[in-house]
């Protein structure tokens, strides 16, 4: 029985940790939605674009840390560009128009990234092995990947940093004000355009981290942009407006997805297999029926 139980915990931990990887992508969505009410479909493409740019810069012979900085700079420029060219002319349009603009943006970024850096699959080595961690294996007897632990650590640092930034800085205060009410924020003199550029830059940073982690696991290639599709159920489960929701949603989706994949296909003798494409969506849908705004989303108040 202990081996069964161990196996269960292994699957559970594996799922939780891969869930954190989903959360990283979902985090970018939440940042932008909170500050500007835009549902940014291009987040997945930003992940791809960031990873491609990073690998491309590395291949030009730039060492790791300067390359990271350069890449961050590129993402910031991109954020400013998006604000200027896409968002500013679309102020006051219905949210659906902005959403569709971000779909267009995602096409643009995919084409641009692959056009500049090429379409072939690149390997990205962060120097961390994707092998079971020996210390944990000895202490608890279960196998947990070192790489997963590392990415969980990254996510923790990122979320901590963002929380500090949001709560303790002047810019963070402005961001929260804009998130709360655009017009009131404008009325007290907060420059909306700057705030949006900053938020998109922050989302770019998150995309870069997610791109590096996912890229070193899957290889840097087009399918990275599809990671966003994994993050969407996380997003609706946790609520569009909550950073904590993105993390908790990621954990729930990751764990239940792996458990369902392993146990349901075992129980049905493999007849119901490869369900991980739609299972998270169904799970999120069921959650939504009970709580239409997600777990931690703001309560939807309807005014007529």
């Amino acid at each position: 029985m202990t081996s069964d139980l161990n196996f269960f915990f292994e699957v559970l931990f594996g799922g939780l940790l891969s869930g954190i990887m989903y959360s990283l992508v979902a985090l970018g969505f939440v940042l932008i939605y909170k500050a500007s009410g835009v549902f940014n479909f291009a987040q997945g493409s930003m992940v791809l674009f960031a990873a491609l740019t990073f690998v491309g810069i590395l291949e030009m012979g730039v060492p790791f840390w300067p390359a990271l900085l350069l890449c961050l700079l590129v993402m910031m420029l991109l954020a400013v560009g998006i604000e200027r060219i896409v968002l500013r002319p679309l102020v006051n349009q219905p949210p659906i128009a902005l959403f569709m603009a971000t779909i267009g943006l995602s096409y643009l970024l995919e084409g641009l990234g692959q056009g500049i850096w090429g379409t072939q699959v690149r390997a990205l080595d962060l120097g961390i092995e994707d092998l079971p961690n020996e210390m944990i294996q000895e202490a608890l007897g279960i196998q947990v990947s070192t790489f997963d632990l590392f990415s969980a650590g990254c996510a923790a640092v990122l979320v901590g940093g963002l929380a500090l930034f949001f709560n303790k800085t002047r810019v963070g205060l402005a961001l929260r004000a804009v998130a709360d009410d655009h017009q009131a924020a404008l009325a007290v003199g907060i420059p909306l355009q700057h705030v949006w550029a900053i938020v998109w830059a922050a989302a770019g940073l998150v995309a870069l981290v997610a791109g590096l982690l996912w890229g070193s696991r899957l290889g840097v290639q087009f399918s990275l942009s599809l990671v966003a599709l994994k993050a969407l159920p996380v997003l609706i489960l946790g609520g569009f407006t909550s950073v904590a929701g993105a993390i908790v949603g990621g954990l729930i989706i990751g764990a239940s997805e792996k458990l369902a994949e392993v146990y349901i296909s075992t129980f049905t003798g493999g007849a119901v297999a490869a369900i991980e494409n739609w299972f998270p969506y169904m799970l999120a849908l069921l959650f939504l029926l009970v709580r239409p705004q997600g777990l931690f989303g703001e309560k939807i108040i309807e005014r007529v």
Binding site: I96, S106, G294
Partner: protein, 355 residues
């Protein structure tokens, strides 16, 4: 000068509520129908009919379906291709398992099956709104794709998961040439488009629009939300289902579930954005734009590059231009090509003496 309705007096409510109240519109429509029904089959060659016009018509039908749901009833859906797949596989299985049914009935029943599936996935729309709903419709997309890939019964246990449309026989006539397939598609699309145009002008269409504009207000003035939203999902999916069946039978011939993946849903979504959200005419204009643009780009590249551009560079360029155009359109004309057409008509009424 030509396009002016002065002198056309309407003496009855019937005339006032006619589908095309202006005589010039009626004439233009007749001319258009005559061209597409009579002239095009004679003039166009096999390639144009089979590879461009037929898919264009089928995708217009899907775009009308999505436009009913998103443009008129305001429920954003990303599951269009899933509902198309239901129609395609339903038509195939009906033909296979109930061979007595005429083909047209198969197509319509395929639409009905798609409508039922659409209504099931539309149920959450009562509680979930906006982008939450859009993501929830992705559940339909992925689930349907998975079912058709993994449940062998639907593909008649074909080892490759591909279904092949059997030869089409309608009232003793075998439909197998590109012209015949084009005409069959055209008839279906014309009839269904007319039905859609009438639906959105009638009571049901107006209740969709009321729900789109504000569902709480609509409920307050006595519009039943459940029936309205579900009817929008059902009728929209019916159109998508028939489009899926036509896609299989008249265009591709053989179809696998991957032909109805998420990118197809997005393609249809782009059509209604560019064509015009909430416009039947826009569905056609958008479909035309999205289908013809890549072909045009390819030809231009071939003329300029003379084969120096590689295939993947070409694909990337296409992505960039495509994405750029969508953003450009949203900024310049958020109401799409249909709106441009409307503006042109307004201008035309005053031409050549605008003052």
């Amino acid at each position: 000068m030509l396009y002016r309705e002065s002198g056309q007096f309407k003496t009855s409510y019937r005339a006032d509520q006619a589908i095309f109240p202006i005589r010039q519109d009626r004439i233009a429509l007749m001319v258009l129908l005559a061209v597409v029904f009579i002239l095009v089959p004679f003039v166009a060659d096999e390639y144009w009919l089979g590879s461009i016009l037929t898919p264009l018509l089928v995708l217009s039908l899907a775009a009308i379906g999505l436009n009913i749901l998103t443009g008129y009833a305001g429920q954003l859906s990303l599951g269009t291709a899933g509902f198309m797949a239901v129609g395609a596989f339903a038509a195939y299985n009906l033909n296979l398992r109930v061979p007595e049914l005429p083909l047209i009935v198969d197509f319509l029943l395929a639409g009905v099956f798609a409508a039922l599936v659409g209504m099931v996935f539309g149920l959450p729309s009562l509680r979930i709104k906006g982008f939450y709903l859009a993501v929830a419709t992705l559940a339909a997309q992925f689930f349907i794709e998975w079912v058709f890939t993994h449940v062998g019964w639907f593909t008649n246990y074909s080892s490759s998961g591909v279904i092949s449309a059997p030869p089409m026989v309608i009232m003793g006539v075998t439909v197998d040439s590109a012209v015949e397939k084009y005409l069959l598609t055209l008839v279906m699309v014309a009839v269904l488009a007319l039905a859609a145009k009438n639906m959105v002008r009638s009571r049901i269409g107006r209740s969709w629009m009321a729900v789109r504009d504000k569902d709480v207000s609509a409920e307050v003035i006595g519009i039943p939300l459940l029936a309205t939203k579900l009817s929008a999902f059902g009728i929209s999916s019916f159109y998508c289902g028939v489009a899926g069946a036509l896609w299989t039978y008249c265009y591709l011939g053989t179809v696998e579930p991957a032909a109805f993946d998420l990118s197809r849903s997005f393609q249809v979504l782009f059509m209604i954005i560019i064509g015009g959200v909430g416009s039947i005419l826009g569905s056609f204009l958008g479909a035309g734009f999205i289908v013809l643009l890549p072909i045009l780009l390819n030809n231009i590249a071939a003329m300029i590059g003379h084969g120096t551009l590689q295939a993947d560079t070409m694909a990337n360029l296409e992505h960039i231009i495509f994405g750029g155009l969508i953003i450009f359109f949203l900024i310049v004309e958020p109401h799409g090509l249909a709106r441009l057409w409307q503006i042109a008509k307004e201008k035309l009424r005053l031409w050549p003496f605008p003052y």
